[in-house]
Amino acid sequence: MDAKTMAAVLLIVGLLVGFAAGYVFAPPKIKTQVVYRNQTKVVYRNQTQTVVQVKEYKPDIVVSYSGATPPPEKLVGFSNINPAFFSNKSVDALLQAAKYETNPVIREKLYNVIQAISNYEVPMIWLGQAKARRHYWSWMHFPFFNPVLADNQWQFVTKDPNAPRPNEVDVGDIGEPESLDPAQTYETAGWGAGIQLYNRLVFYYGNDSKNVVPEAAYAWAMSKDGTKLYFAIRKGLVFYDPWDKKTFDMTPEDVAYSINRIIESANYEKVDYPEWIISDFVKKAYVISEKDMEAALKEGLVAPILGKEYTINSMDQWINLFKEKFSYVPWHKAKTEIAGYVVIELKRPYLAIMSCLATNVGSIVSEKAVALHNSTKDPLALKWYNEHPVGTGPYYLVSWTHNQELVYEVNPYYWGEPKPTIKKWVIKIIPEEESRILALQKGDLDYGVVSPQSEDKMEGKTLQYNGKTWKFLMPWMGGTFDITHIYLNNKKEPFNNLYVRQALAYATPFEFIIKQVYRGHLMPVSGVIPKGMLGYTDNVPLDYWKTMSEEQRIAKAKELLKKSGIDPTKYTITIIYNQGNKPREMIATLLQNEWQKLGFKVKVQTFSWPTYLKKITNGDYDVAILGWAPDYADPDDYAYPLMQGGWHFATVKVAGLAVANAKPIEMAGVKLLVGPAP
């Protein structure tokens, strides 16, 4: 062997020996410890001299909690747990964190993550959000569409003078309000009426569903710690009481009284119980003097306006800011003097409180009218105000024949702008679809409820009147915040298995349901928060809500089922829906069809509404179909009730310190860490 070959052999042998030695003497285990920024703890070494390797995870947001109480023994859907009985400690911490976060940027990020989690965990299948469509004769003119509002604002609606009944509008509705008292109504018809009868501290204008504008309040500001809200009350609003034939000027006392009345009303028998929208967050409301208001301003307040925050230090600055920023709102210019000041104290800082005050529950009622009709047993005059609404709004109630019709007329003492042009509004209750369609076709109704199935009957209909040809219009308006869900009982097998839930979601025929059941009146949604609301994002892990072919769906579903490890043939799934609800009946049958392809046995059952509700709240079901409508326009109104699993925490801090055993969650482009505080 010559030198070159010797060297080569030595090299190779040397390398081999080196590798072998390295292998023999290398550290047997490498312990990886994730280390976080902001942490004061230091990397430690293992006694057996293994080297600890460090991998850095840099979270955007850290959520730490302490004082966790687990869910109670007896779980009641909608009450102490979400109706799908899904329970996850980290998710609950996130929900609580997002609820009370005062920084709008962080709050949005947290809700983005919650949206992504709702998409991945799929505790209920998010079927879609409703798309609104108006149905009216072309002699009607509706300038705005706002998904937050339960009805159009009649003061902006106009009617062509050549139309039939030019000074009156006849609407065909399917049901009547349950009450006209803001403390007692919790459904669409009542809230729609409230828009015309009352004014609130803040409200919405035009098509903007994200920002509130001043109404009974001229201006507002928040204390720096977020627990006190200050309102400058507008002067010149007038209550009209047609039953006592009296008018009352609206005072700051009325405003404070209205809020306190709502909170107090929870202790009495009422038609319905919407007061939590204010009483869950508000401690009390009271009037303060101009001197106290100026003192508060001097300390410095913060005014959240149109998505931005402004610091306020003086009365003039405050009033001028609101005068300038809201000059586009017609009624804001009508009365500009200040009558006084009201403070609303919150239990905890809650950014969404402005949306709550803009709902029907925030309507201002007349303390004096209540005093005329109350009694020791009914100090809030709940029984009287139920059917005798006294408000400051553009219309007042003339008569209410139950389940037959409601008649409204223009309030002669209305303070604002624009003044309504249509003198009389009659809501006719016509529950039978056929009769309502006939009446619409004849032009005896100006607009009304047309169900998706009946739309082709009205398509292209025309009417001759006063020498003109009028058309029946059915324009698409855009997404609303009403969602339909398919609840899966997460307490029961096989729905407690994540991959089973995901498989069932993939196997759901979204495209077919949207087209055939809802006739296009539904659009897909990526998770628990609807599009158009703060927190919505498309950046979610799973794509079962996107359009794909049936084969793709079933293939993906089967793949997930295999991953889940369960045998579908061992399970019988019963899908329930409420009697008389045709769309849900169709959805249940379609789901039965598709899910059986995965190997499950599927049954469909129907129950009357009260029994249905009972079964769901008791968790006595497999799969149920229900909807969700907004109480107020904030993601907390969706995410919390629909996902919270019963865990409560004494404190939840965002951007808190060191968390032990924390869970890294990376979703929706946000890196999160959730865990118990040290």
Partner: protein, 335 residues
């Protein structure tokens, strides 16, 4: 006439046990079904304390016999309970819906008799002619065609195509409302415009309600009259030389009318119970719709009050029918 007084007294005595029986049976049935009193969107944010409060207020936490006893006491003191769904006093709600149904029933029964009796008489008198056959065929069609089909057909033809009559809703409220029956009230205060408007609105619903009933009455009248006409005493009258019309009206009709009275009474009771389908199609807020919707919502107090009302109504109607009976046929007074 002493017989008559005894007869009335005897009939009145059967009222109370029958009523109590009605109450007990409805109570038992409505409490066998387990359901949650659902108030609209109440379940969305259900406060367990409020639920307990409601249970206490409606005595739903008491044993069934206590609830029954409390209920019977309330009924006879004018407190017919509060609706769980609307939280309004039931008696007040019934006083809105019942007059509407009462008017509908009166008009309906009026058309039934006005159409059915003459047609039946005509058929009987022109027995076995083309007219008789035509009336018989029309009768069969009249009571075979389902209610809703008739109602929709009338609505389509007279409201939609011809535009002669209004197709839904009640007419204008009269100036002063006394009883809630707009037709009656408008006569009382002289508001003839409201009377005509209400009458026009009630025409289609009451005619569509009346058609099956009229068909039944027509056939019954025909059969009953033919029966009576074949009796011996009619031949005797004829032999006496009485004119045909006198025989018809004075002798035959009085006998033949007896089964009609019973059936008309039952029909009226049925109409008072509320014609849910007619009320729904013509968008009239009456008793039928109220009771059916409350049953769906498991509104126990309304179900029980409604059943009690209908039971009471039937008892009174039957009582009146029996009185008429006894007036027309003296033999009955002895029973």
């Amino acid at each position: 006439m002493g017989d008559f007084k005894y007869y009335i007294a005897r009939r009145l005595l059967t009222f109370v046990p029958t009523l109590l029986g009605v109450i007990v049976i409805t109570f038992i049935i409505s409490h066998l079904v387990p359901a949650l009193p659902a108030k609209g969107a109440f379940a969305r944010h259900m406060n367990p304390q409020t639920l307990a409060l409601i249970k206490k207020m409606y005595h739903l936490d008491q044993p069934w016999y206590i609830q029954l006893w409390l209920y019977i006491c309330d009924l006879f003191t004018g407190n017919w309970g509060t609706s769980i769904v609307t939280s309004r006093p039931i008696l007040k709600e019934l006083s809105i819906y019942f007059p509407v149904t009462f008017q509908l029933a009166i008009l309906g029964e009026f058309f039934i008799l006005v159409a059915g009796i003459p047609l039946g008489i005509a058929a009987a008198m022109r027995n076995n002619t083309k007219l008789d056959q035509a009336i018989r065929v029309l009768s069969v069609i009249g009571y075979s065609v389902p209610y809703f089909l008739l109602a929709i057909a009338f609505q389509m033809i007279f409201y939609y195509w011809l535009g002669w009559l209004p197709g839904f809703g009640l007419g204008r409220k009269p100036r002063v409302v006394y009883t809630g029956m707009y037709l009656f009230d408008s006569i009382l205060c002289g508001d003839w415009g409201a009377f005509v408007d209400n009458f026009l609105h009630f025409l289609l619903p009451s005619i569509s309600l009346a058609t099956p009933g009229a068909a039944v009455i027509a056939r019954l009248m025909r059969g009953s009259l033919l029966d009576t006409l074949s009796a011996d005493f009619i031949d005797y009258c004829r032999m006496k030389g009485l004119p045909e019309r006198v025989i018809m009206v004075k002798h035959a009709l009085k006998n033949a009318i007896i089964p009609i009275i019973t059936v008309a009474g039952l029909q009226f009771g049925g109409l008072l119970g509320g014609a849910i389908i007619t009320e729904t199609i013509f968008a009239i807020a009456g008793l039928g719709r109220y009771l059916v919707v409350s049953t769906y919502a498991m509104d126990y107090p309304v179900i029980m009050a409604g059943t009690f009302l209908i039971g009471l109504v039937y008892l009174i109607v039957n009582f009146v029918v029996d009185l008429l009976y006894a007036y027309v046929d003296p033999r009955v007074r002895l029973t």
